[in-house]
């Protein structure tokens, strides 16, 4: 499938198809009760997408509530230190609430408002999507419940408290591995029970159709801006894009508007955890196989019996056994290269960027930063790389301090 002909013949804007598939990936693997809600959501989204009033509302919120456009920043000192290509950072860390997640929650909260539903639910891993959802729910006066794995509630106490301050109820999930995947199971169970009055705001480009599509569309603002900014700052397209991939929403948001620019290489960076060779990681595109979880078919981390296995990453936001179905498709097409960065490399990049540029990146984004360092050396001077700095690292200070043996 990854020959040159197939690359050229794909019209990326025509996917997913009407049934929500990207090739063999995506689709709708949910219990029957949710099908009608997904049909309604699809119908409403298709209608509102082309409604200028809805688009105006969305753009207005992105400009005045989030603070978009986010800058494309030339990391001069860091580029010089690495000694290769010029590295530019797409500063999603400067968004309100501190990450790219809010682009999507605003879009979905507007859909919720139009649907007349008064209660929103969300799943969260690191807590960034939960915070972004609680934020927009507070602004729109909606009831908000956030499901979070009990393990993550412990790891991310500050975000839990932020959500509570914003008026959301955080529900610790104690089933299964007590992390993001179990939080998503529990959110699905809530949705199936309260489907009449509840809008489920999914945080990444996974889940059943139409979520992978609509989350992507809302996040594409990242790539559209980056494309324009590249022309303004360097007078041409960048040579390569780099973004971390957990579920993959920041990556698809950056990549998608460039997919048809064949000269632009793309690298999705998965969490290598203790190292791919140890099996303790969260890199389904590197090491997994296609399967079905959380409403879609995609690459998964699973055992020979088809049971989903536990993942490992220093970054809670990448600690997920699946990935958005569009990434699985882009992998098979060969359009995007998926690589892995392990915990140690990500931590080194975290410290490096902080000291050299005065920017503390999220541990998730640090995976992209670490890979960009390697790539910059490989590509050499005169080339240009755009890295999605998807979130800021304030939330990770405790994790890093703990690794350093310091109690904050």
């Amino acid at each position: 499938m990854s020959n040159d002909n197939s690359k050229q013949s794909v019209d990326f804007n025509n996917f997913p198809n009407e049934s929500g598939h990207f090739g063999q990936y995506g689709g709708r693997f949910v219990s029957e009760t949710l099908i009608s809600a997904l049909d309604d959501l699809t119908e409403m989204y298709e209608r509102l997408k082309s409604d200028p009033e809805f688009q105006r509302e969305f753009d207005h919120d992105l400009a005045y509530f989030v603070g978009r456009p986010s800058p494309l920043y030339f990391a001069k000192r860091w580029s010089e230190k690495v000694g290769g290509a010029n590295i530019y950072l797409k500063r999603e860390d400067l968004n309100h609430t501190g990450a790219h997640k809010v682009n999507n929650t605003i879009g979905q909260a507007l859909l919720a408002k139009h649907s007349g539903k008064t209660r929103v639910i969300a799943e969260t891993g690191a807590g960034q999507h939960g915070v972004a959802t609680a934020t927009i729910a507070a602004r729109l006066g909606m009831e908000c419940y956030v499901y979070m794995g009990a393990e993550d509630v412990k790891r991310q106490a500050i975000n839990v408290y932020r959500m509570k301050l914003l008026g959301a109820e955080v529900i610790p999930v104690t089933s299964g591995s007590k992390t993001l995947k179990d939080a998503m199971n529990e959110a699905m169970r809530d949705w199936v029970t309260n489907v009449d009055n509840t809008f489920y705001i999914i945080g990444t480009v996974a889940g059943p159709h139409p979520y992978p599509k609509l989350v992507r569309d809302f996040q594409c603002i990242i790539g559209r801006e980056a494309r324009e900014q590249s022309f303004e700052m360097i007078g041409k397209l960048p040579d390569a894009l780099v973004a971390c991939v957990g579920g993959g929403s920041n990556a698809i948001g950056l990549f998608h508007p460039f997919l048809e620019d064949e000269a632009v290489a793309m690298y999705g960076v998965e969490a290598g955890g203790d190292g791919l060779e140890t099996g303790r990681h969260a890199a389904p595109l590197n090491e997994g196989i296609p399967g079905v979880l959380h409403g879609n078919r995609t690459y998964l981390m699973e055992d020979d019996d088809g049971q989903i296995i536990e993942t490992h990453s220093v970054s809670a936001g990448l600690d997920y056994p699946g990935v958005g179905p569009e990434h699985s498709w882009l992998k098979d097409l060969g359009r995007v290269q998926y690589v892995a960065i392990n915990d140690q490399e990500a931590l080194a990049a975290f410290r490096n960027l902080t000291r050299v540029e005065g920017i503390i990146p999220a541990l998730e984004s640090s995976h992209a930063i670490a890979y960009a360092e390697k790539l910059a050396k490989e590509l050499g001077p005169g080339k240009n790389i755009v890295v999605n700095l998807s979130g800021r690292g304030d939330k990770d200070i405790h994790t890093v301090a703990e690794i350093d043996g310091i109690t904050v």
Binding site: S31, G306, Q307, I308
Partner: protein, 269 residues
Amino acid sequence: MNRITQCLQTLKESNRKALVTYIVNGDPVPQATLKTMHALVEKGADIIELGVPFSDPMAEGPSIQRGHERALEHKTSLRNTLEVVRAFRETDSKTPVVLMGYTNPVERMGAETFATLAKDAGVDGLLTVDLPPEEAPNLIERLKSAELENIFLLAPTTSDERAEKVISMASGFLYYVSLKGVTGAGHLNVDEVNARISRLREQTSLPICVGFGIKDGESAKSVGQKADGVVVGSVLVSKMGDLADQPADVIAEQTAELISPIRAALDEL
């Protein structure tokens, strides 16, 4: 004729309702499953639904979630589930067995392999909770060729138009989900369920069994007035969890005991 169709037809002819019982393979310990299956049949179960353990049982309430977790502690897989059915068939060639689970273990095994092995083991049908028929054309075909029934769910939120489509791909029986919620939920509305069953009767001649939220003789009886059968699961799985420390014989016996009043209530209809 497939055992499921045969069983439901015989019951109908004698004006009786089907009691479908659900337990999870390997829960709470592997040696309890086969014994409990036989004990349930002895106490009046007509169809055994055997849950295939999955790491992420999205549609289950807390009771059955814990059942899956207990089962997975013993590494019970889909392959192992098929072996249990094979062992069950050594002494029971009559009671239909439906496997109920999630897509991924079946997908991992492969539709063709699954259909062949399941048929060979003595399975009669498959119900995959997270697999709407439109995502399953290949599996439906494979099961059909192996003469296994494709059992699909219908829900209160399923439109009449969609029900038509699902029915056209279903066989064996239709599983009507009595409420918006997960298994074992407590807000069953009998009038709504009965009204929907009446409407479904105009769309299909397939038998209709109702599940989710049926926990005792009373709820079974009220739903059984219109339905061809009822599915009882969470109360049994919950009991098996409570009995986890007991010998397998005790688990089987005390769990099966729970269905006696349900059987009696259905037989009053």
